[in-house]
Structures are given as structure tokens and as C-alpha cells.
Symmetry: C2
Subunit: 284 residues, 2 copies
């Protein structure tokens, strides 16, 4: 059994981006992400710390715009539009969910494709669906494909079962895998025989948001198991895969923590770098 860990993937990408960032700086361009955070949710703060650490390690900038929890729609809108116009900002990330009094659908669609670093807008999601090379895909599903490529897992023609159909992971992941010419099966709570759908796959991607739901009965020897779940049970973080029971069977598996989740911020960094370089494509 091999363990696909985030660390080597992130180190490799960070080194590359650091070199690119310093080259850009010599030309007066300082790759920068603007974070828009409303209030002080602990989840947001933890993610923010992870992003800042990742960007600092590549000599890139993060500018945090903290807004009070009772901020008005107009104020958030003005900030987003100002950041979108600002040439010194190469990517924008607004933490969600927003407080209920704010119209999240309206706000998340204000950012232009090139600066929408984590695919908040409907139009960028349409580009992910079409896989037409415009905009950036959401960071988490992209991290899954990036890890598979880093660890040299062939995808062309392979059977991949995606467990979960959310717009955050499952559906965009299915589209990214189709682009790699995988044969993709999308499973969900309505699937009649999930065990069979998982067992026949070459690669299983668990993105259901249900702690340890993929157990030894779902897998067979020789499979690659990508665990996208991040759950907290009894104060301890775990994935959607029952790691201890599944790992002995798998050809390779991602741990939680230390797996897919750890690569997400490197994808975000990649989008900001691509935007700073003047690129705008998913292929860049």
C-alpha cells in the first residue's frame, strides 16, 4: 500500500511557484490574493491561516479584508468590485457561507472569471461543465486530479467512481476526470448498490461528506482510493473512508488529514499565479 500524501505535491508546486513569483517580482508584478471574510467563523480563520502560510512559502501576498458580521450588501459589493478592478489583485476569494442577510448568489457572481480563484461564479462553473479552458475550476476537485497526476496514476480509459454529486466537489470532479478521458460514474444517496459501483472502479473518489462511509466492503485489492471528506468525529478529523480498514486493501490511499485537503491551497496559489502571469485559462 502506498500513501498519497499532500506534502511532496505541495513542496513541488510551491518551489515552482516561488521561482515564478520571484521572476514576476523582478518585472514589478507581486502575485496577490485578496480574501474577503465576513465575521470570524472558526472554519474561515483556519482556512485563512492555511492559505497565508502557503502563499508566504511561495513569496506571494495575501490581503485579508475582514468585514463585520452585520456588514451591508452594498458594502460587500463595493469591496468586491473595487478588488476586481484593482490591477494589484490577481485573485479574489470570498469565504462562504455568508451570513443569511447577504444575497450570496448576487455577490459571488460579481467577480470576473480571471480573478475568481475558487470558481465562485455560475459562469465559471459553466466553463468547468464545458471544459472549454476558460476560468479556474474549484480548488478541491482540482486537487484530486493534481494528486493523481503527481503520483503518475493513469486516468485515460480508467473507471472512476465518484461518490457524491455536490457542486463543490462531486460534479466538477466528474467533469475534470472526463477531461482526462476517464470513464466516470457518479454515485449518491440514491444509488442502489454503492458497494458494487465502488468495487468495479479503478479509482474511487469519496466526496460524500459522510464520516468513514467507505469501508472494506466497498473496495477490492489494487484500487486507488482518493478521500475528499473532511469530517470531525469525537473531536478528531477523519475522511469519508474508513482508513484503517481500507488502507490494507488499497494499492494507494490518501490520508485525512495530510491528503487531498492539503493540496487545495496550492491549487488556489496556482490560479493566482496564472492570473498574475496574464494567463486566464484552466489549461495554463
Amino acid at each position: 500500500m502506498r500513501e498519497f500524501r499532500a506534502k511532496p505535491v505541495v513542496e513541488s508546486l510551491t518551489q515552482k511557484y516561488k521561482e515564478e513569483a520571484n521572476e514576476l517580482k523582478s518585472r514589478g508584478i507581486f502575485p496577490a490574493l485578496a480574501i474577503v471574510r465576513v465575521g470570524q467563523r472558526e472554519d474561515d480563520l483556519a482556512y485563512e491561516r492555511g492559505i497565508i502560510k502557503r502563499f508566504e512559502s511561495a513569496d506571494c501576498k495575501v490581503m485579508v479584508h475582514e468585514l463585520p458580521g452585520d456588514v451591508s450588501f452594498e458594502e460587500v459589493k463595493e469591496l468586491l468590485l473595487r478588488l476586481d478592478r484593482d490591477d494589484k489583485v490577481h485573485g479574489i476569494l470570498m469565504f462562504r457561507p455568508l451570513p443569511k442577510h447577504l444575497d450570496e448568489d448576487a455577490l459571488r457572481n460579481l467577480v470576473s472569471a480571471k480573478k475568481d480563484a475558487d470558481c465562485m461564479s455560475d459562469i465559471n462553473m459553466a466553463h468547468v461543465f464545458a471544459q472549454d479552458g476558460v476560468g479556474y475550476p474549484p480548488c478541491t476537485p482540482e486537487a484530486v486530479v493534481e494528486m493523481l497526476k503527481f503520483y503518475e496514476v493513469p486516468l485515460k480509459g480508467k473507471r472512476v467512481t465518484v461518490v457524491g454529486r455536490s457542486m463543490v466537489v462531486g460534479r466538477p470532479l466528474a467533469m475534470l476526470l472526463l477531461k482526462e478521458n476517464a470513464t466516470v460514474t457518479i454515485c449518491h444517496t440514491g444509488t442502489e448498490d454503492l458497494k458494487a459501483e465502488c468495487q468495479r472502479a479503478d479509482i474511487v473518489c469519496a466526496a460524500a461528506g459522510s464520516p468513514r462511509m467507505i469501508g472494506p466492503d466497498h473496495v477490492r485489492k489494487g484500487q486507488i482510493i482518493m478521500d475528499v471528506g473532511i469530517n470531525v468525529v469525537d473531536g478528531k478529523m477523519c475522511g469519508d473512508v474508513d482508513y484503517d480498514a481500507v488502507a490494507p486493501l488499497a494499492e494507494a490511499i490518501t490520508p485525512v488529514p495530510g491528503g487531498v485537503g492539503g493540496v487545495t491551497t496550492a491549487m488556489l496559489l496556482g490560479h493566482v499565479m496564472a492570473s498574475a502571469k496574464g494567463a486566464s485559462g484552466q489549461n495554463s
Copy 2:
């Protein structure tokens, strides 16, 4: 073997829409589709005739706007925006592909969600991807699901293999099937063992655009075979399924012509009716 024919589906829908149209007329609303056709391609003209016939049978109107093949971008744009503002127009359909000198991507995105009767715009396609109930899905994949429902084929939990990943049929069809809680596998030219992927399905949807590519080796007894292909071979229309060889094995199968393709214009009619009734949702 049962044959799933378009005719009963269309007759049932047309009758319903005719009653609704006459009720609307009594309130001064005349359900109307505007067609924008550039040039006189034979494919477009044939489709146009089919649409006019369908709409007439439900006492609804079609207004054809024919533009010369060398029309300018500005002229098409002005027409689309004028139709979009016109309260007497409840749906807009622009035949594509457009001549190469016109920026099709810009033009197809000018029509608002409510009047975009065949899902031309990226934003409506994003709504199909998200299945969030806004806008109308493309007519052809919707016709597949409509036929399955009409013939009372259960979809929840069933295995459906979609052959083809186009933005016209394959991908939106996969999303519409997911909404019905089917377990969906998307196959394509890169799939290693297409026969196995088809054979294990409860329902096979062939939308590859390759004449008679699904043969008796791809199917097993008891399956439902939905043929979305429209090909012309030796002057004769045929589907993506080798009908004569496959039909004896199938539980049910759609013929070509007379199957899925025949239901498409009824979906278009349904979108115009929904828009005329002031509805705007995919669920309406």
C-alpha cells in the same frame, strides 16, 4: 420488446399545451416563439418546419426572423436584444452553427434565462449543471428523460450509461438523470470497455453521433435503449444504435426516426408555454 415512440408522448403534451394556450389567449397572452435563422441551411429549414408544425398543433405562434448569410454581428445582436425586450415573445431560438464571421459565443449569451428556450447561454447551462431550477435545459436531453417518464420507466437508483459527453446531449443528460436519482456513468471515445459499461446498465442512452455503433454485443436482455443519434447513411436516417440487431434483445427501444428526436420540439413548446405562463423554472 416495446417500442418507445414519440407520437403518444407528443400527442399527450400537445393536447395539454393546446388547452393551456387557449386559456392564456382568453387572457390576452399569445404564446410565441421567435426563431432567428441566418441563411438557408437545409438542416435549419427542416428543423424550422418541424417546430412550426408542432407549435401550430398547439395553437401557438412561431415568428421566423430570416437574416441574410452575410448579416453583421451588430444586426444579429440588435435583433436578439429587441426580441428579448419584446413582451410578446416568450422564447427565442437561434439556429446554430452561425456563419463563421459571426461571434457565436457572444450572440448566444445575449438572451435572458427566461427566453432562452433551448439553453444556448452559458449561464443557463450552469443552471443545468447545478440543477437549481433556473432556466430551461436543452430540449434533446430533456426529451430523453420526458420519454422515460411517459413510459413509466423508474429512474431512481437505476444504472444509466450515457454514451457521449457532448455539451448538446451527453453532459446535460447526465445532470438531468442525476436529478432523477439515477446512478450515471458517462462513456466516450476514451472508454476502455464500452460493451461492459453498456451491458451492466439498466438503461443505455446512445448519444455519440456515430451511426449504429451500439450493437448486440453492447446490450443484454431486459434493457431500455434510448437512441439519441440522428445520422444519415446512404441517404437513409439511422440512430447510434443498430436497431434491427438490438431491438430483439431490448425490453424497450426508441426508433430513429420516430423516437427521441420527435419529442424535442414538444420540449421547446413546453419552455415557451412555461415562459408565457410567467414561469421561469426548469421545474415548472
